[in-house]
Amino acid sequence: MSAYRVSRASQRINEKAPLTFRFDGKKYKGFAGDTLASALIANGVKLIGRSFKYGRPRGIVGHGAEEPNALIQLETGGHTVPDLKATQVELYEGLSATTTTGFPSLNFDLKGLAGQFSRFMPPGFYYKTFMGPAKAWPFYEEIIRKAAGYGRAPVDPDPEFYDHLHHHVDVLVVGGGACGLWAATLAGRAGLKTLLVDEQSEVGGWMLSDARAVIDGKPAMKWVSERLAELKSLSNVTVLTRTTAFAHHEQNLVQAVELVQDHLPIAQRVATTPRQRLHKIRAHHVVLASGAIERPLVYGNNDRPGVLTAAAGQTYLNRYGVAVGRKVLLLTHNDASYDTALDLAEAGSRVTLIDTRQRGAAAWRLDAAKKAGVELLLGYGIAEVQGGKAASGAKLVKLDPSCLTVTGKGPTLSADAILSSGGLTSTVHLFCHNNGRPYWNEERLSFVTPDEGRQGISVAGAVTGRWGLGEALAQTHASVSAMLIGFGRNPSSTCPVSEDQDIQPTRRVFRVPDGKPEGHGAKALVDFQNDVAAADIHLAVRENYRSIEHVKRYTALGFGTDQGKLSNVNGFAIAAEALGMPISQVGTTTYRPAYTPVTFGALAGSHVGDTFDPRRYTAMQSSHVSRGALFETVGQWMRPWYFPKGNETMHQAVDRECLATRNSVGVMDASTLGKIDIKGPDAREFLNRIYSNAWSKLDPGKCRYGLMLDENGMVMDDGVTACVADDHFYMTTTTGGAARVLNWLERWHQTEWPELKVRFTSVTDHWSTTAVVGPKSRAVLKKLCGDIDLSADAFKFMDWRDGTIAGVPARVCRISFSGELAYEINVDACYGHYIWEQVMEAGKEFDITPYGTETMHVLRAEKGFIIVGQDSDGSMSPIDLNMAWAVGMKKPFSFLGKRSLSRSDTTRSDRKQLVGLYTEDPKVVLAEGAQILSSRNTQAPADMQGHVTSSYHSAFLGRSIAMAVVKGGLKREGDTVYVWAHGKMHPAKVVSSVFVDQEGVRQHG
């Protein structure tokens, strides 16, 4: 047990509120205010995981979003969350977490063996090695999947829910550190609608970790709580904590996820409150005060458990009251780390500060360190950390003043914790998500944002490379004041004051030299999560990857769930050195959302389960339910699929429904068909242009089937349109195509033919349609209707009549999608249910049979009627579909798609054309989509002739039928083709696609 609890005046944990939690099944104690990471460190738990590629033992490195190693699986069952960073998990009573790596166990990892041969596992190893015979891959995969990766995705339903909230604000401030708080204060005081988001459990940012900071003459945290109190008193300001802004999109849309209940014990979570909430924030202006993250130095075995960043060491001590070790080595190249050393010494740790600079920090700091008993080693570096599953010490080397070469041996020191600081890296991610670029600041050794920000974005504080609190606040004040002027407000507040102490310039070091050629000493990690060492980057450059984007992809640098927050700058710098280029020229890889991982739950919000997509029901829904219908989804509609009686299978029910309809009468709910009311003096001309067939001679009282083509000449929709009056038509479309067709009509009218006087109204929901189908349909209608002459001569096939059905005004169309005598009764949707029930009652004596979409499909296939999107797929012309009769080539206006029908490709004779198929064995129902060959020969390359588009058992014919598209099929009637279905070859004869009543007698009856 090397780490220990200390009581710090600055600490944010509550020692009076102890908590218990479990990690890998073992019970531990922590306090309210701890993270899982701080509590694990306090309990002496060092080994948290195994590395991705080499299985190297790993522990906690950071203290927040930058953590690469400590990925844990939180909770179990439906509540489980994989790969959370222990540094970001707030501790609660009863929390249970497990490690996510280590196969077969954390203490003995198979990859660890591989790691010992790591010299033979360069970048690209897995690709290069396992590219081999495809058959062997499943064998490798089995083992690799077990050994590789991190947590396991949840398999149980999530018992919690998520929601979305939209904001429209004047100013969004990202980051609640000192600068973000000051920015929000200025915006808030100026009366602007302001939202501040911060990812941590409380605002303060680095002030939570820095016990020495002073603002306006008082401890910084006192100033922070004053600011928070002021912001909360302003009604125009909202402060959201536990809220990470993870993406910035065009027009200043920022997405942020708020962890609303994750910090509460599961049993205490409120069922009516979401677990997480996604905020979609539109801001006139964004102030990016996202701060900076300290990166480690790169040196041998710098990934051993017990090796952390200096900032993490300082945070665990001051914020959580946890000293990381009794004997601590701190390796640095900058002055800021001296505070860390002083704090640890003050808390009772023995600290050795190893400064790569020959003269160390500013004189006053050197004095303070000596006074506090910190041992100083100036001009030294760490060559290699010692110890396996926990760091036990380090071998030092003496460095020359440039820090590029080793001039001699150094002492070997024992330690139970090792910290390092490679300087700060500005958190520029959100600035760059939407095309912004950071620039390299050589003095601050960081990619930073330009002070002027960019359109709609101001930058404030450490994100600009200002590490000193005083300079950061001053820059924030100036930047936000300028923004206020832009809003037409007067900045009147005075800038808070914090005195920045003298510092010695930082010495440029990324990779600490160990005196050996790269790759020969101990592995020096750059990207911990992806096991990318300094040597790997050198190798990538040797293999001639010149662009940093390529180096990234070859080595996997920055690809992990930490998105390279600790590793990227070190990686870029090492690549720059290997390439012999300045870092500014190497540049950065592309920053993409999300800044930190976001749960699918938060992204989906309430768009899950029943609220995933709207469900549309017709007016007859309760009738269908009462008759035992099973439903299928068509577009967003719930349509009756079939109506089983008793224990009927679908097959039995459909056979019964088909026969009843062909022999007596059936009834179907056709309300879901799209309906568009088309009016205007040019309505007829418009139809002539939009449909392939002619509309000039269609009189009122008549209906016509129409085919709609796109400009490529391919069928895109079909339906029957009735002429209501010379300037008024009633169009029906396919159920799924209704919205698309309406937009299609609008686009052509508005963009190409605005001179045509015509308008369109969607009336799909306004009308209810009951289709009465079968030889007895006239008899049924006669019982319900007294004012329409239903006789075959007076009311012909493809006529429609206005009349009264069961006392309700109705538009009755004599059209048929089954080939039978049939009427479609259209009434105001309010009467839909009533009319359906009236029809059922009137049809009782004929044993009227309701049927669903399945029977509808069989009946129409028996007649060879196509379903657009099933028998056609956007590459079928009317000619291909054997529907040349529906193309009015003589129409004066060149209707949509007409010219394309004479394109050389469209007129090819070997195009796939729609035919019927009779299987040799009448009992075989082919699979839809089954491939058609011209012979039994299946040897590759197979002679593909087409595929089956529709296939059913026809009870009426007592055999199977199929529709298919076959190359040149229209001229192949009588040929035998071979269909591969259900693992067998089925011979079938090409026949006409009209199977029943080829003369069309029945529908004219």
Partner: protein
């Protein structure tokens, strides 16, 4: 996710309300029958695929259903403005001449 101003509704609304409707001001050949295979193919398939400022059509499908012109930068996603098809066409033609 854009916010788009519909010149017909006079309102700026979220992208969800709109549908993309392709490149703007592609003229349909006046006499398609007389168009050569190449000309017709050009009209059907060839698009400018501009890098930078681009005239395109959007339709306010969940609003007024009107199609209108949008000048948008395909690199920065900046929207310079939105116009009715007729208003936009004047600007478009002026720019094409320049």
């Amino acid at each position: 996710m854009f916010q788009i101003h519909c010149p017909h509704c006079g309102a700026t609304r979220e992208e969800e309300e709109f549908s993309y409707a392709g490149e703007a001001y592609i003229a349909r050949p006046a006499k398609p029958e007389e168009a050569t295979e190449a000309e017709w193919g050009d009209y059907l398939f060839m698009r400018k695929n501009t890098r930078g400022w681009f005239w395109e059509q959007w339709q306010h499908t969940a609003g007024c259903r009107k199609v209108f012109a949008v000048k948008r930068n395909t690199v920065s996603y900046e929207i310079a403005g939105t116009w009715t098809l007729a208003e936009g066409k004047e600007l478009y033609l002026k720019e094409s001449e320049a």
